[in-house]
Symmetry: C2
């Protein structure tokens, strides 16, 4: 029988058996943990993943953007020995590309001998120890990248890659922003080094970010990276999308892993069902991963947490206990005369539930002694000053000393609402080695408390009393929790007002316009009816608005400058947010609106 | 007589009498104080200077780059009401240009109704209430400007301006970087908003920055602006240069003033002799101006300074006293058992010399009490931990309470050498509302001490004993000054090593290569012979290098994240310097060099 004439059989052979005989093209994509500023460690990891990919029969392995240096390395990008080390690591990776195509992100220096040579954020494609093409340079840079890199100004050229026996035309995208692509390619690769961000506007679902019109393999990194004040988690969230924007394969977010996709046509692979993940679960995953990885990175294995019987310190205690184990978490309650039996008991209950070591270290004697030392010298100490003396006594005198003695650090448990308006004491509750909750609004802290009890510990580790009690600093009789008195913040409204200030750059002019139009609650996202309930008159509303805007731009900024590093979960965390100590400004239009509303001139 | 034929007389008339008859063209240039984030206040100032210029017969008045919004306004550039206010202020300025040409810097928004419209850093030229041309957009942006503005990518077009009866072709330069200009113009104007920087490489002399091949009027602003962590002073240093780069007129640095230049040909004006200003005098002017302006801006009129008998706190005390008056400066000495009579007496002498209120508030009882509270609970407290307990007790317990009680702030007196390696205690001597000396190396602090005595106070306000004594934290018997013991820092060498790390991005690889080549002292700028004196062997040298590199990248960064705002005098102040908490990294080439030097493998 002449095989050439048996077309049906040939088609069958082509469409199925032939592929099986020679194997489908396999692409490995590495959701690797990148350690910023340590090209040697990253290269070691890349080489391991290349070996693993080869041994699993992959034709190509791809690594994230800036996989060699990391992205947030500060002015290391201006240090010649660091750049040369990155280049030398790149050569090692290229030399390891025997029989496999390797694509990875690194810096590209036009003339490494010239210390003023332009530096590019680039992708390198290599096979059999040779570069397949010139380094592909990133088209558009964002934010701090501009400080170090040149941008190419044009999209990287597509590249033709032989996988198995077929040539594929592969489009290259670097980063989040890129020109629109109209040319049809077999598939695209998006190389990224983008942090996890719970509220990011481009995020479709947990980690799966694009709906595009062509198949795309998305390769990002995991780990944490920081810009000093802000610690970002990287979830990787690598995935393969078909041209309808459906996911056909994905990596577990935050996992340091290598995945392999085997395909002829990505569009022929059946789409996966993606499990839904609640916002609180996303936040929990990011925060617990961030805390764990940060502690590992700075080599800290013991933490001390001041527990007040309030919600923030309780949530912090539960998270650190989950991450480090109860034996490595020490809880300290530091009562003054203003602390109620209620909160003291709740703190003790919390420690018991979590199984942590628990100390009670009273501060009253020391506070009295400080006041005495001042008054003996003729310095009058007001009750407001006494409030802050208590807060500093707790953190700077007790917690810092215990943490240092135990060889660990103490935590800052401030939330984002307090941080916005500086409702915390510098060197007091604003102090610590890490602010794990400072990018969360108060309502998110409560959600996290419930989530921890229900889903993580599966029992009431955070006593219900802590969730139910009125939030209070308990620094004076005016904040007596047993009388239902507490913080001056009305969180169900202020959380949303402050979010408009801090995350959306809204000003009192915007807020007052919305208030006048009756659109405020809708626009800032808080419960309808609250504004009228809290502020019977326009004057009340305006007084509150101005009070907090002044705090936000005044003491708020001053305190944030000296606050601990913040674990980011939004794309506008303090620290990441550019702000200056420039005092308070209201626009002329604001005053016009105010005059209209209050009838004064 | 027919005048037309008496050419010699006509020439004479043209060249002298005619000019006198119609008056020479006059250009006013405003070295105005710009308050960042307050377009209303800046506009008021601009309008006053326009009136003053007009009344003095000026044909044109020019204002600095971004004179309306200020430069360091953080994310206000993303807030629509702020931008619209700037635009509205711009219109007010244009409306005030009756009979005078006004040039000023402001934001330019292509389409103010579209909140995504590109924003440019621009110069506006107006006369008789009309714009003379489209806004001129800045060609190249630097650093954080990229975050907010688009760049035009091409130099602003020259503009033809009628001054008196003659048309002048005026070239426009914005900012520090610009394309090379070859076209001959009558003169150029350089609009700037650049901070003072003592070590800036482009600076020719105090404030006078350019040597160019055409006449140029240089217009910058004064005041202070900040990016949160870093406070920059702006010296303005406005001047008019002839085409040989000589100064023909200038404004006093840091003065809020309007100058007027009258000319036909700038090159015909005789050059001025510029008085020489020492580096220490420059630094003193910048720091005293920065401290004074910052205090005014945050509304603080009383400061508390912990004085130890050491050089840093003494210099701080002298500067604040000069700025605020002795009646507004409170000095506090806080001895423990480790403080010598020597330093206690020197502190008291300092207070007496300056005429400040002086308190002695011992900390020993409180430190003992803290240790007792911990030990009673089974927590062992090491002597190292006890050192830090003392430091925190002083700042967070005593100084913060006194400052709050007096309605002021307390200062941080850390210098740049300590800040580099974290040789200070968080919430202890690292705390305060402002670090006025944290961009100065120890040798500069000593220079400042001598300068203050000799030139500012003209008597020994800082006791010579403070200048002579060994620098010591006096936190343990190992730091006994009377036995000549003190800090582990060898400032005459470490100042320069740390400067190489912090200001020039040099790494241990660079340092070790220079050490091996015998070029180290020359390259880092310290006294020749010191390295051999301090480090008899390569091993000693390397151990020291690694110790401080680790501190610089480890605890140093962690502490700087929480340090107070820093007054910048270099172009690489901490805060302004981008750095991450990424742990310590040595390059492979460093290890190679080390192996060669020590003979180990």
């Amino acid at each position: 029988m002449n095989l050439l004439f048996d077309r049906s059989r040939l088609r069958h052979y082509n469409k199925k058996n032939f592929k099986e005989a020679i194997g489908l093209p396999k692409i490995a994509y590495a959701q690797m943990k990148v350690v910023a500023g340590h090209p040697d460690a990253n290269t070691k990891k890349i080489l391991q993943f290349i070996d693993e990919s080869r041994s699993k029969g992959a034709d190509m392995v791809i690594f994230p953007e800036l996989a060699v240096p990391g992205r947030m390395v500060g002015e290391n990008f201006w240090a010649q020995p660091f750049l040369l080390e990155c280049i030398s690591c790149g050569k090692e990776i290229i030399a390891a590309s025997k029989s496999i195509t390797v694509a990875f992100g690194n810096v590209h220096v036009k003339d490494p001998k010239d210390s003023d040579s332009p530096i590019y954020n680039s992708i390198f494609f290599a096979k059999n120890r040779k570069l397949l093409c010139e380094p592909l340079c990133k088209e558009w840079l964002i934010l701090d990248e501009e400080k170090y890199f040149y941008h190419s100004g044009c999209p990287p050229l597509p590249i033709s890659i032989k996988l198995g026996r077929k040539n594929y035309s592969v489009g290259i995208i670097m980063g989040r922003y890129y020109s629109r692509y109209s040319a049809q390619k077999d598939f695209y690769i998006n190389f990224l080094a983008e942090p996890f961000c719970q509220s990011s506007r481009y995020q479709k679902d947990y980690g799966f970010k694009y709906k595009v019109n062509f198949p795309i393999i998305y390769v990002g990194c995991v780990g944490i990276q920081n810009t000093g004040k802000t610690i970002y988690t990287f979830d990787g969230a690598n995935a393969v999308f078909n041209s309808r924007g459906e996911i056909v394969q994905y990596a577990e977010p935050f996992a340091d892993c290598l995945n392999i996709i085997e395909f002829d046509e990505i569009d022929e692979i059946p789409a996966l069902e993606i499990p839904e993940v609640s916002e609180t679960e996303k936040i929990y995953r990011a925060i617990s991963y961030g805390v764990k990885t940060f502690l590992e990175q700075i080599g800290m294995s013991k933490v001390v947490i001041g527990v007040s019987g309030g919600i923030d310190s309780a949530v912090a205690a539960a998270i650190y206990t989950k991450v480090l184990g109860a034996e490595n978490v020490v809880l300290v309650n530091m009562p003054s005369v203003f602390n109620s039996a209620t909160t003291k008991n709740l703190s003790e209950q919390l420690a018991k539930n979590l199984g942590c070591k628990y100390y009670v270290v009273p501060i009253q004697e020391s506070v009295d002694w400080t006041v005495k030392q001042l008054e003996e010298r003729g310095i009058a100490v007001s009750s407001f000053v006494k409030e802050n003396i208590q807060a500093r006594d707790r953190s700077s005198r007790i917690l810092a000393a215990i943490a240092a003695s135990l060889g660990g650090g103490f935590t800052c448990n401030a939330n984002k609402a307090e941080s916005t308006v500086g409702y915390a004491t510098l060197y007091g509750d604003e102090a610590g080695f890490l602010s794990a909750l400072a990018d969360l609004w108060k309502f998110q802290v409560y959600n996290l408390a419930r989530y921890l009890n229900e889903k993580i510990f599966c029992r009431e580790v955070i006593p219900q009393g802590i969730i139910d009690i009125v939030p209070s600093a308990e620094l004076s009789t005016a904040q007596n929790v047993d009388e239902g008195k507490g913080d001056p913040l009305k969180y169900p409204y202020h959380d949303y007002l402050f979010r408009a200030f801090a995350e959306d750059n809204q000003t009192p002019e915007d807020i007052l316009r919305w208030y006048a139009n009756g659109e405020l609650e809708k626009n800032i996202g808080c419960e309808v009816g609250l504004v009228e309930k809290y502020f019977p008159t326009s004057e009340d509303f305006i007084a509150d608005l101005e009070r907090w805007w002044k705090q936000f731009n005044g003491m708020g900024v001053a305190k944030r400058i000296q606050s601990p590093p913040i674990l980011a979960v939004t794309n506008s965390p303090y620290g990441g947010r550019a702000e200056s100590q420039n005092g308070v400004h209201f626009t002329e239009k604001y005053f016009e609106l105010k005059r209209k509303l209050t009838g004064t001139c």
